[in-house]
Symmetry: C2
Subunit: 321 residues, 2 copies
């Protein structure tokens, strides 16, 4: 059995793991902060160090190559990161830098694509033909897997589902568009909505979770309070389910996928989110498309991107998964 | 050279034509009203009559089969129309009825899929890898062609782009959802918007086009008045471009296609629609995705569905186009 190192590069952390070509396990899982402010060379050095640490921890496996997932936009064919605001890179030949340092072949794909491909390969969307997924965190990323392959579009930009307009006269989004899904349902958007309500006088225990410092309320804190039964936090989760439902209904009507998988911290909200989300999608989308589709949380918490990055290497190198 | 009869079945008209396997011409173009109220048997008889008339007009061509495009939802593998409100059919084995009557093999696909596939094969989207298209008429249909193949999704429902929500708290759509693109940019929606404004006191020459009977204002009439320089009609066209722009921007961000092709009567508005539409998409969507994409009117007015239905037969029967 040949093994592949999967590396998931985020703005906050880099995660690496070693996966056999059949994806049956993940060994040597290691992680470190990214510290992008130290510059590209330092980040590459950290990637290389983590890859070596993962290989060492995986002990004696035959390593065939490295799959890298990074924020985009990318040029996947050339292995170049065109631009990442989070990392501060422009036209950076990430793949070849890793190849040179490790002496192993490598592939590069978008981080959200990798996460959804990982969920398709070994997670919540296993066995499906067509999967569309969202990764909800600081932003909302998207990945599209059709006929078991990542769909990249004409110039590797496909899948910007977070920047689908669901309210054309709505809030301005960081991307310049108006009413993007991300402007309502990203982690920071959920936290901001919670804080707005508190400032407008909502009764809630939320401030007690952050010693009264409202600026420290995150989406995670909202889920925690909802879990503890805070009625206002539950309302915020339900509102999130409604806006997310409009976006997922669009996906269901346009892609008619077998699975919509939702990854990221938002899955911590569990059924409090997924039950109203599913009923909102049912209310909005075409019945035969709804009937054909499962809407599920990601199953590979923290490792979907590693599995998926490795899967991209396997698929591109050996032609199948 | 083998020939295929393409048949495009609409709620108003049936159009048939005969196309060689390389799509290089369309001969024997014939058409008749559908008269769906006469029942399925009468419509099938008319389809068969038109197919024969087209073959006769095409004179001496070797006919290999028939491609049928019909409103859905369909089961394309079984050749069954599951449900068409416009035609009043439920679980109707359209393909096999045509096969029996004509003694020729046949294929069935969705009418909007066929129109966009036709534009990809022989029209405005020729040569592109990834094409997403809209057919704007009484409703808004959609077709998705990826890697040169129609994308059908898990249960043949994919491509319902007209029912993408662009305003989640917006107008209720006939489909039950809220704020669908179709509720703002279909022919009747454009006409209704024009009439609302007139009733609210807008100054315009539009009523003179319909002898003062506002109920007779159609989208076509609005385009005609815009063409003649009526400032209010021009405003209605520009508003249409804006809502359509939000929908097309979603397509561009999600699919990153090489071409977005827009078919139907709306193309009569020409640059008055397409210039503000392109600038609205540019304002909303990601630059690398916008840069990779042409937004164009369909080139095969009235025959895209015939070409596409024939193309589906060619592709499924001989594996390539």
């Amino acid at each position: 059995m040949r093994y592949v190192v999967g590396i998931d590069i985020g703005g906050t952390n880099i995660v690496a793991g070693t996966v056999p070509e059949d994806g049956s396990e993940l060994v040597g899982l290691v992680s470190e902060p990214t510290f992008p402010e130290q510059g590209a060379d330092a980040v590459v050095a950290r990637i290389v160090k983590l890859a070596r640490a993962s290989v060492a921890a995986a002990r004696g496996k035959e390593i065939a190559g490295v799959g890298i997932g990074a924020p985009g936009p990318l040029d996947t064919a050339r292995g170049v990161v065109l631009l990442t605001p989070n990392l501060g890179w422009t036209n950076f030949p990430l793949r070849d830098r890793v190849v040179q340092a490790l002496g192993l072949p490598a592939t590069l794909d978008n981080d959200a694509n990798c996460a959804i491909f990982g969920e398709w390969w070994r997670g919540a969307a296993r066995g499906a033909n067509h999967v569309v997924g969202l990764t909800i965190g600081t932003g909302i990323g998207g990945g599209i897997v059709l006929h078991g392959e990542i769909y990249h579009g004409a110039s590797d930009i496909a899948g910007e589902i977070g920047h689908m307009t669901i309210d054309s006269n709505g809030r301005r989004c960081k991307c310049g568009n108006y009413g993007c899904l991300e402007a309502y349902a990203s982690g920071p958007a959920i936290a901001a909505r919670a804080v707005e309500g508190i400032e407008a006088g909502a009764e809630t225990t939320l401030p007690s979770y952050v010693q009264g410092e409202l600026a420290r309320i995150t989406a995670q804190v909202v889920y925690e309070a909802a879990h503890d039964g805070d009625a206002y936090a539950l309302d915020v989760v339900r509102d999130t389910a409604h806006v997310l439902g409009a976006g997922v209904a669009n996906i269901v009507n346009v892609f008619n996928p077998e699975v919509v998988v939702i990854c990221g911290g938002v899955t911590l909200a569990g059924d409090r989110l997924f039950v109203p989300l599913r009923s909102e999608v049912k209310r909005r989308a075409f019945k035969p498309a709804v009937d054909a589709c499962r809407i599920v949380p990601g199953a590979l918490t923290g490792t979907a991107g590693v599995y998926g990055a490795a899967a991209v290497f396997v698929k591109r190198t050996w032609g199948r998964l």
